[in-house]
Symmetry: C2
Subunit: 332 residues, 2 copies
């Protein structure tokens, strides 16, 4: 999971600049959508609002619409929709991960309980859908329902492979495409659809979102092996301890003989202590796992930038390009 | 919760009769919708299918459409939609209730874990929505999104009142209307919408569904105080132990002075053992709580039957009337 909850990279000024005022308008609308007449629900919603994620997804919606046309009411609804959906998945993730903390705050299931977390997640999801239904944004609904489906499928596929430890490169890409990239893709598509029906533009934005999302997740998985993740209280090698096999390890395992790869798998399977984790990270570095994964992320980031070359030059285009750069170069 | 998972009353032959063949067609379509290419997901879906609930909700969809017109493709999609949605809430309820069993089978969160249960629930929900989106059943989507929202609100409202023990009659009806009756209402509305745009018919069906749902939940709450519930492995007075204040207790508390009602609330608040539960049940019976709740359920069942008097006589009408009778007279 780590992934989804963390597309909260400090937003570069140049990424925000072309849509700074629109982003404020979004914030007001999102806040208004996080209200309820049910007191307990309202309390939880206020608690969530206080946490102030960086809200990168609605920002992607805004930029994806501005690159292709003029931001309008539908764009804002799309931005609110993706953020409601994202928030719903975060709240459900708390149950899933049995997380005690989220962005430095105690998690909802910790303060209240799993019941509240599951129900609030369901509520947020339905709230987003209702927003689209009542405004007749049926094109948004199609992409968003597909995304909710893909996100749960991706997580379940990873979960299965985690148990069996038989994750390969192809499956890894299927997992991260579904669990992480699908929502970024949806942000781009929803932003585009709100301003244009030019299919070349929509396809370009979808492709940008997919490549950006994949690159983001690969970097996230690399950072799990590196020290800086510690800033966020996430232990180094957390994925290995959870028996999650990610791209750097997949590449390293491809580069050694069966005997060596079997012994590494065995070590992970039995449950790794800190010493084992250090050993495995050294194994990955020695066998070029991190380097190869980094190269892959860079290829994808190039592909993302190429995707949007169909658009004329604009501040928004530069911003979307900077966002890609930032994602692959970030250190936490 | 107990409620929602248990609208699995043995279906009377006369209720099923007018739509027996259509019900078989529904079963085939539902089974087909419970498939996935993700192996773990497919495994869980097959496991769910094996449990064979009585599928009363799709039956209500079928009858509600046949009473108002001719069953068609949209009717079946509506029936599959409500059953997918219902199944999603059951799976999420398992997490919420930390249930170990469901219909005599181990629960999904018991065999797999909370993660799988939350994700499979999200998957089923999105699967249902996608079915409606891709078929452009936007009228279904509107009622269904509203229902998902109401169901989570109702549960959260009950949860809050459970902690504070300040449930009154008005709030009780708000809770059961949202958490239980809303889905039954939706079954009726979806069935109706699939065959007619006559608003008098749709309103009649909505009203029928609401009254039936309320009556159902009241009876469910009465049965919690009676022996027969034991058949389902639910302990007598389970709601009291969970500090849930339901209608029979609300009525009994209304019938005594403040001193006596405070002492009962205190007993519930501290956590009731079996002896306390017996004492409280006797208190409820002595103060007419069960009798008054039963009368309320009967009034609602009359109202349900009156609601559908706008329809000409038909086998389906008789079946919907029988269903009401059955709900208030059932003993488990």
């Amino acid at each position: 999971m780590g992934s989804k909850e963390k597309l909260n990279i400090p937003v570069l000024n140049e990424v925000l600049k072309p849509v700074a005022s629109e982003n404020k308008e979004f914030a007001v609308r999102f806040k208004n959508s996080m209200r309820s007449n049910v007191p307990l629900l309202d309390l939880v919603l206020r608690f969530i609002l206080k946490q102030k994620g960086k809200k990168i997804r609605p920002l992607i919606v805004l930029l994806s619409s501005k690159i292709a046309g003029e931001i309008n009411d539908r764009t804002y609804r799309g931005a609110v929709l993706v953020e409601l959906l994202h928030t719903a998945t975060l709240v459900h993730d708390d149950v899933v991960d049995e997380a005690d903390k989220r962005r430095g705050f105690p998690s909802i299931n910790k303060i209240w309980n799993n019941k509240v977390a599951v129900l609030v997640g369901d509520y947020l999801l339905s709230k987003g859908l209702l927003l689209s239904v009542t405004s007749k944004d049926f094109d948004f609904l199609e992409t968003v329902s597909q995304t909710v489906k893909r996100m749960s499928e991706g997580e379940l596929l990873q979960s299965k492979k985690t148990r069996k430890l038989d994750m390969d490169e192809e499956t890894y890409f299927k997992v991260i495409s579904d669990k992480t990239a699908s929502l970024i893709e949806t942000c781009c598509v929803v932003g585009g659809l709100s301003v244009t029906d030019n299919t070349q533009y929509i396809d370009a934005l979808r492709s940008y979102g997919n490549s950006l999302g994949l690159a983001f997740q690969i970097i996230d998985d690399i950072l799990d092996f590196e020290g800086n993740s510690k800033l966020f209280g996430k232990p180094i090698g957390g994925d290995i301890k959870e028996k999650k096999i990610t791209l750097p390890l997949i590449y390293a395992l491809q580069n050694v003989d069966k005997k060596e790869s079997d012994s590494i798998r065995k070590m992970i399977k039995k449950g790794s202590n800190d010493k084992d984790v250090r050993f495995i990270i050294e194994f990955i570095e020695r066998n070029n796992g991190i380097k190869m994964a980094q190269e892959k992320a860079e290829q994808l980031s190039e592909r993302a930038k190429e995707s949007i070359q169909v658009f004329p030059e604009s501040e928004s285009k530069v911003a979307l390009e900077s966002l890609v750069e930032f994602v692959v170069k970030r250190e936490n």
